[in-house]
């Protein structure tokens, strides 16, 4: 039954796409985020729907879309450089089979990030892309939110529909992305034109934000809590009623404490006791291994190079008995442990050049959004105010991703590269519109100059 519903949905989107070819781009975004083929038992899992919709999006853009307004930004050059560099390291990878497997989805994410900005030419396109990203992620987040309310969730327990541990179905990734899209949800709620702000839109958006905040609780991914902590000051930054905001957040935080499952609070306590926690100690040991590894291999070991690691560390546990605290040390030996950090993932897999390219792509993104935000901050024309607000939302989401990336290996998460593509598109769009607004017909100044002041 569900399979038929998915097929019906895709056929409907396909038909609408023939009326408005930009819908093919949106459909690809949807398929990449939701992966309906993974939720389906038959029919869809045998058809390469992702490839079909990408081909449709590309061909319709090449044949129908107006390319005179498309611009190329320097960051697309950086993404292309990263793509070519990763292709090179895949050829010389330490683990060629595993590296080829990861390369298979990484190149698609990067190529789409290159392509997406070229199609984003109008405000409605940005808005509809934002809606597709948010609603696609919402299909997973709403499930997680309701199940958390119903059962309390648990680490590795919360069932997010698919059995796979990839994409947004991975608990730490979905925790980060759920928090990162909150600013975008609030932007769409305030500045939407497809769904203009009314009580229904506001109710849905606030409920969705609440579900987003429940995801780190439901998945018990500690990264999510760190991301929420990062979101707080970011939201505060441009809030006019800061004290009211702080009071509401504080009250909500205190009110939620009794409702948090005890497994959640005990797991969050381990953030401060990282020495006793094998997961956290393993991370530190893997990061040390990565630094030693790049000393010998400065150009990285290709995708999945972590498989070659073998680590030993001492876990220290403090036990208090009868008023005395005793520290017990256990030697732990482990191997093939993943990076658990996007920064170290880039460093170990792509070496220093890869890490520098990656940092530039993300760093320039945050910097450019800051410039856009400031440029449109004091403008009153409702036709351009949205640019600054969207830049602000995208920047906040990006910072949250970079904070989450400290503890989760998701350097090539396709969802994030779509946000990066959206940023690049917004940047080139704003430059083009500003240039158009500056343009004056040649005739105008001549008339002005020719008219003596006394006659005017």
């Amino acid at each position: 039954m569900r399979d038929l519903a998915f097929v019906g949905f895709l056929v409907a989107v396909l038909l609408l796409g023939f009326r408005r070819p930009f819908i093919f781009v949106l459909a690809y975004v949807y398929i990449d985020v939701v992966s309906p083929q993974r939720l389906s038992y038959f029919l869809l899992n045998s058809i390469p729907i992702s490839l079909i919709f990408f081909a449709l999006a590309l061909v319709s853009w090449l044949m129908v879309d107006d390319k005179a307004e498309s611009r190329i930004a320097p960051r697309q050059g950086l993404i292309l450089a990263l793509l070519l560099y990763c292709w090179g390291t895949t050829g010389n990878a330490d683990f060629p089979v595993e590296a080829a497997e990861k390369w298979d989805w990484v190149w698609k994410a990067l190529v789409f990030a290159l392509f997406l900005p070229l199609t984003l030419r109008t405000r409605v396109r940005f808005e509809s892309l934002g809606l597709f990203l948010v609603l696609s992620a919402a299909s997973i987040i709403i499930v997680g939110g309701i199940k958390t309310l119903a059962s309390g969730g648990g680490y590795g327990v919360l069932n997010l529909m698919a059995t796979t541990n990839t994409g947004l179905y991975e608990s730490s990734t979905v925790s980060t992305v759920a928090i990162a899209i909150i600013p975008l949800i609030l932007y769409l709620m305030r500045y939407g034109t497809i769904f203009p702000p009314d009580w229904r839109v506001k109710t849905f958006c606030f409920a969705l934000c609440f579900a987003c905040l429940l995801i780190p609780i439901g998945t018990e991914a500690r990264t999510g809590l760190v991301c929420i902590a990062a979101l707080g000051p970011l939201m505060l930054r441009h809030n006019k009623r800061r004290f009211l905001y702080l009071a509401i957040v504080g009250a909500l935080g205190l009110a939620s404490l009794p409702f948090l499952p005890s497994s959640f609070t005990s797991r969050m306590d381990t953030i401060t006791e990282y020495k006793a926690d094998s997961s956290a100690s393993t991370r530190v040991a893997v990061w040390k291994w990565t630094l030693d590894y790049v000393d010998l291999h400065p150009f990285g070991g290709g995708f999945d190079a972590y498989r070659g690691n073998s680590i030993r560390y001492e876990a220290v546990k403090n036990e208090t008995a009868g008023g005395q605290t005793e520290a017990t040390t256990t030697l732990i030996v482990d191997k093939s442990r993943a990076y658990h950090s996007s920064y170290f993932e880039m460093l170990g897999e792509q070496g220093w050049p890869g890490l520098i390219l990656w940092l530039m792509i993300h760093g320039i993104g945050i910097f450019r959004m800051e410039i856009l935000r400031r440029r449109y901050e004091r403008r009153s024309d409702p036709n351009v105010v949205w640019i600054g607000k969207l830049a602000d939302a995208l920047q906040q989401g990006h910072i949250i991703y970079l904070v989450g990336s400290l503890f989760v290996g998701m350097a090539f998460q396709p969802f994030v590269y779509m946000l990066v593509g959206m940023q690049i598109g917004l940047d080139t769009y704003a430059s083009r519109r500003a240039k158009e607004a500056r343009f004056r017909p040649m005739r105008q100044p001549i008339v002005d100059i020719a008219t003596p002041k006394s006659f005017s």
């Binding site: 569900r2 949106l26 509809s128 497809i194």
Partner: protein
């Protein structure tokens, strides 16, 4: 039940977005922006009576 509720709600809204795009001409073409109220860039440096 929960899965189907979430999938139904979000997919319905996605379809509604796509449907509304059909009737929006500004998806593909926008009107030219209004000229800036005051000139920016180098034009800003000109004396007002130039």
């Amino acid at each position: 039940m929960i899965d189907n509720f979430s999938l139904g709600l979000t997919h319905g809204l996605l379809l509604l977005v796509a449907w509304r795009l059909i009737f929006r001409a500004d998806v593909d073409r926008e009107t030219a922006p209004k000229p800036d109220e005051k000139p920016g860039g180098w034009a800003d440096q000109r004396p007002p009576d130039a």
